[in-house]
Symmetry: C2
Subunit: 200 residues, 2 copies
């Protein structure tokens, strides 16, 4: 059996390293990149190189950015009373898309996870404490995921931040919009009942 | 709403151009390429560039190759009596994987498709005719897909090649291995009955 020509085999191997892309998808993408306009294929390659060369983490909030400080930290139009704590830089985009939050962010770069050896020192917690201590924030919103690790991280942050004069809030847990109560798990339903709001 | 930093937005846009990769997948891959080792991300970019720089079509069979003629055309260990006609270069790999065919190939670079304006002149048919006229092939296997267009192409080739002293065969149509007769369509069952083989 004659295998793929080496440059194609290598491209397939590199594509296969992307999580969620198996052998078949890697082949399909590689063939597309071979057959499409050369400009399009090289455009993707260049975009990857440029992203890796130009993007770094904001020194204030750890968001990914190509300017220092990032667009959000350097904006004077944000709500200076609120800071939202998230796990990863891309969580910022998810929250921005709602259009409901106009404050600043702080990215922890992960969650506490004793099992994976991630303790408070591995996360960007000291920077958060400094910002809250020295800033004029009046509310910190803990927007880590409602997973075991995310909840443990939120709990840990609550303990640490309690000493500062700041309101600590946690994003709500409950049924996702459009969900069927019949199919929801008990823990989610319990959280939805606990977090119920008065209808006005 | 603050959008992604421009180099990231551009990477997502370039990834979205790949068929089958939507916005969510493009974001996921882009974030992976940002977070993974720089070496891995740049390795992918370089593999794309190298593939586009080094790969071209074999002047004999139109297979994709990095050497001229391709590995198969330049091999003296192949069965010189058989030539297999396929639609696209990557079809060669699918047939090679079976380990059942050891002859040479000819890639048409598509199928006849009046609706898309692809006539005989758009395909690499004259090269095939030349190879059959001047070569020592004794069998040509028409391995275009059993679609309307692939079948029309096979039929057209049969008409053209009939005048040469060569056996013309068509790959078998029938039920795929593992298929349930209950779920197969009538045309496939009809083809399976027509193409039945005597059990020995």
């Amino acid at each position: 059996m004659i295998d793929y020509t080496p440059p194609l085999a290598r491209m397939i191997e590199e594509l296969k390293k992307i999580p969620g892309i198996g052998r078949k998808s890697a082949q399909r993408i590689a063939f597309y990149l071979l057959r499409t306009d050369k400009k399009k294929a090289l455009g993707l390659a260049d975009a990857i190189v440029q992203a890796r060369e130009k993007i770094f983490y904001c020194s204030i909030c750890n968001n990914i950015t190509a300017i220092e400080p990032c667009e959000i930290c350097s904006s004077s139009e944000r709500d200076g009373e609120k800071i939202c704590v998230v796990e990863e830089p891309f969580n910022i985009h998810s929250i921005e898309k709602t259009g409901l939050f106009h404050g600043y962010y702080h990215v922890l770069m992960g969650n506490l996870s004793p099992i994976r050896g991630i303790g408070p020192d591995e996360l960007r917690i000291s920077g958060l404490v400094e910002r809250i201590k020295n800033g004029s924030f009046r509310e910190v919103i803990l927007a880590t995921s409602p997973t075991t690790e995310g909840s443990a991280t939120a709990h840990y942050l609550t303990e640490i931040l309690r000493q500062y004069k700041i309101t600590i809030t946690r994003i709500a847990q409950g049924l996702p919009v459009g969900a069927d109560l019949d199919y929801a798990d008990e823990v989610t339903i319990a959280k939805a009942i606990e977090g119920r709001l008065e209808v006005k």
